[in-house]
């Protein structure tokens, strides 16, 4: 592939990936409003388009045309930069996530991801760990007590749960023997006894999966760990002072992070794009991406279901749970996995 071709292919892939991600973000919001509505015996959005399907579009237009208030008491440079930081890192982390096998389009053979790096998992973790600056700086620069408390809670919570999250992934890494997301997915192909798929969750990493699940809810500030924006006590937490598109950027960043977390869960524990393949060649090329999307949808649905079901933790419960329960459990899981792999070798 020549340099010109490489740049062209990269740009096309970036545009497609960002397009898919932003559409997914918009419709995850719609899905959440619908599902939570039905859980609470309401209809959710119904007015704009069939089933309220055009609601995200209407919301987007509304956010753009709202007045962008700049409160006089804020620390201006960081107040403006914070939502950008949050959104940029949320969108960047998708760049190394593979959504399917290699494909050939117009004679160009290319993987279904923006770029294939051999430390893909570390890149995702690194980028998402930088996302906390957006939240922390928003809380601090707003110069308001609710925002500051929200920002402090968010940074403490994200730093604490990042440790359990990282440790829960190490078991998978030991099984796969690689940091490359593509290698990890490839290691999960095939089945046990012909019908149980060889996903990591069935290879003894089920505890790790649940640790990851809980840590991921805390990382993305979702119920039951949504203390940084607990509306009953903190108004809206770190984004209390934000309006219009700046608020929308935080909103998009939160949902983009949810999707990234769902992608990682699918790749690491649920077998990525592996699933039954059948039909003509065209269908066989499309099916992996379809399976991948189905798994992400299931994970996101679980997210929303949990939000509609569980109450919020108290802050001391949150910290005690993270440090005294999840972290030791993750370490135990790591030690046991390492022992089993070492004994088997």
């Amino acid at each position: 592939m020549s340099l010109g071709e490489f740049i062209l292919v990269s740009i096309v892939k970036i545009v497609i990936a960002i397009g898919i991600l932003l559409t997914a973000v918009a419709y995850t919001v719609w899905l959440e409003r619908k599902v939570v509505g039905h859980i609470q015996n309401r209809w959710g959005p119904t007015r704009v388009g069939p089933f309220g399907l055009l609601q995200p579009l209407a919301d987007g237009v509304k956010f753009i045309f709202k007045e962008d208030l700049l409160p006089p008491h804020v620390f201006k440079p960081l107040y403006i930069a914070a939502p950008m930081i949050a959104l940029i890192f949320a969108l960047t982390s998708i760049s190394v996530i593979p959504i399917g096998n290699w494909i050939t389009v117009f004679g160009i053979h290319t993987p279904l991801e923006i770029t294939d790096v051999n430390i893909g998992l570390l890149v995702v973790l690194g980028i998402t760990s930088l996302g906390v600056y957006g939240v922390a700086l928003a809380g601090w620069s707003s110069n308001s007590k609710y925002s500051l408390l929200g920002g402090l809670r968010a940074s403490a919570q994200m730093v604490s749960y990042e440790i359990s999250l990282g440790l829960s992934l190490v078991g998978v890494l030991i099984l796969a023997g690689s940091f490359s997301l593509r290698d990890i997915v490839d290691a999960q192909g095939g089945t046990f006894w012909g019908f149980i798929p060889r996903w990591n969750i069935f290879q003894g990493q089920i505890v790790a999966f649940f640790i990851y699940l809980m840590a991921a809810y805390a990382e993305t500030n979702r119920v039951p760990f949504d203390l940084p924006e607990a509306e009953t006590e903190l108004v809206a937490g770190y984004h209390t002072e934000y309006s219009a598109m700046k608020f929308a950027m935080f909103f998009m960043a939160e949902y983009a992070n949810m999707i990234t977390v769902a992608c990682l869960a699918t790749l690491l524990f649920l077998g990525g794009w592996h699933g039954p393949l059948f039909g003509p060649p065209f269908l066989q090329a499309i099916l992996p991406v379809f399976w991948f999307a189905i798994k992400i949808f299931a994970f996101l649905f679980l997210y929303i279901w949990v939000r509609g079901t569980l109450p919020r933790f108290r802050y001391d419960q949150l910290m005690a749970f993270g440090w005294k329960f999840l972290l030791p459990l993750a370490i135990a899981n790591l030690v046991i996995t390492a022992l089993i792999v070492a004994l088997r070798a």
Partner: protein
């Protein structure tokens, strides 16, 4: 060639971040400049072919340690610092000292030790190589360092949760209540 250009650009960004760290008067701006320094150092590692070190640099330094720095600044609500005129001794001896020192270090590195040039990929890059180095070749120093860090953590815990301090504060709470 492209490598060299990108490497120099990020080297400049790194140096500019370090200077900005000293010039800024607000602690949070200084902390963010340090994040920029850490980030550009990670890019430099990446350009030298040490991708694992680069990733760890971002995750550990930029993503965890500096977040705690920012957290502490937020918690203490540290304001802008007052600018003093500085001491005359520092001006007279400090700046020439720094200049002479850096020239000396550069001269030693370039002329004497033979480490002047590092080619792309010359550093141990892949995680497997680093893992082998840490857990096989340098196992003892690595474990000794980890014990050292553990002692430091325990020391911090002991200092932070001094039993006398806790008793005193509960007593004073009772008195106030």
């Amino acid at each position: 060639m492209l490598h060299l250009i990108v490497f120099s650009v990020f080297g400049l960004v790194c140096a500019a971040g370090a200077v900005n760290l000293l010039v800024q008067r607000h602690p949070i701006n200084s902390a963010l400049s340090l994040v920029v320094v850490m980030g550009s150092l990670a890019v430099e590692y990446l350009l030298l072919g040490a991708e694992f070190v680069a990733a760890v640099q971002v995750i550990v330094y930029a993503g965890a340690i500096m977040v705690l720095f920012v957290f502490v600044i937020m918690l203490l609500n540290a304001g802008e610092e007052d600018r003093t005129k500085g001491s005359r001794v520092a001006m007279l001896f400090g700046i020439p000292g720094v200049l002479i020192g850096s020239v000396l270090v550069a001269w030693v590195l370039l002329e004497r030790s033979g480490t002047g040039n590092v080619a792309v990929g010359a550093l141990p890059g892949p995680p497997k190589v680093i893992g082998w180095l840490l857990f096989h070749d340098f196992l003892l120093p690595f474990e000794v360092t980890s014990v050292l860090v553990l002692i430091a953590i325990m020391g911090a815990v002991v200092l932070a949760s001094h039993p006398g301090a806790v008793q005193q504060s509960t007593q004073s709470d009772k008195r106030e209540g």
